[in-house]
């Protein structure tokens, strides 16, 4: 993506599973370890980017935990909404809260969708 002032912002959405067997000892001790690990892996894979580019790995765990880079992403979106609508004061944090809630609700819906699809599929094949 290109921003208005010419600085490129590159975003990469990653959905990670925190219950991976090889990362289980670390992830059960450190909160958000899998998102941090996946963000570092994306940083390594995009290490050949231009130095002036801003890279935001948007890593999300399937159970709902977000990486701290999403705050930067949502902050820029909320800042743009705030400047468009011209609302002052504490309403700026309301935009960030709305965007976080939208991510969380989307995750809940997709979680239920993935559970129901496999339950129905198993029910059709076994019963």
């Amino acid at each position: 993506m290109l921003t208005k002032d010419g600085i490129r912002t590159l975003a990469n959405v990653v959905i990670v599973d925190p219950t991976q067997a090889d990362l289980l000892p670390q992830s059960c001790a450190i909160q958000g370890f899998v998102t941090f690990n996946a963000a570092q892996a994306k940083e390594r894979s995009y290490r050949n980017r231009h130095p002036s580019d801003q890279f935001l790995p948007l890593t999300i765990e399937v159970f709902g935990c977000l990486h701290k880079h999403i705050d930067v992403f949502l902050h820029s979106c909320a800042n743009a909404i705030w400047s468009l609508k011209g609302i002052e004061g504490p309403h700026f944090s309301t935009f960030i809260t709305f965007l976080c809630q939208k991510i969380s609700i989307t995750l809940q819906r997709m979680r239920v969708s993935s559970i129901l699809s496999r339950v129905v599929a198993v029910g059709l094949t076994t019963f």
Partner: protein, 138 residues
Amino acid sequence: MVQLQDSISEHLHHHTLSNMLFNGTFEAHRVRILSCFGLKGGAWFTTRQIFLGFQLFSLVFCIAFCMQLVLLHPLIANIFQCVCTHPIDLMGIHLLSCVHGNKRIGTHDVIYNTFVPMHEMLVSSGTRTITCASFNHI
């Protein structure tokens, strides 16, 4: 109402973390608790359902609530095998991490199609999007 939801959420945090996290749970379940109570992990619980996009239907709320409290949902109580022939544990964690089908990609696509065009429209309005495929050729 929001204050009541916040206090309920606070009690849920205290109850789950104190009684379930440190009392001999399995590693996968501990990871699930830590992830559910991670950064913005419980944001859905304090949502005011004033828009259609913020509405949680009863089944979605039930499953999300059971996940948050580390409870077993009755839907997956009698299912012992996934479509990929992998055995399912009591909490149904495999159902979320199974690579069979396109549901994991679907979650990625929904998040991408919701937020990246919004960022593109608001912050970088009128400019082009560089996809990963085109970025590799730069």
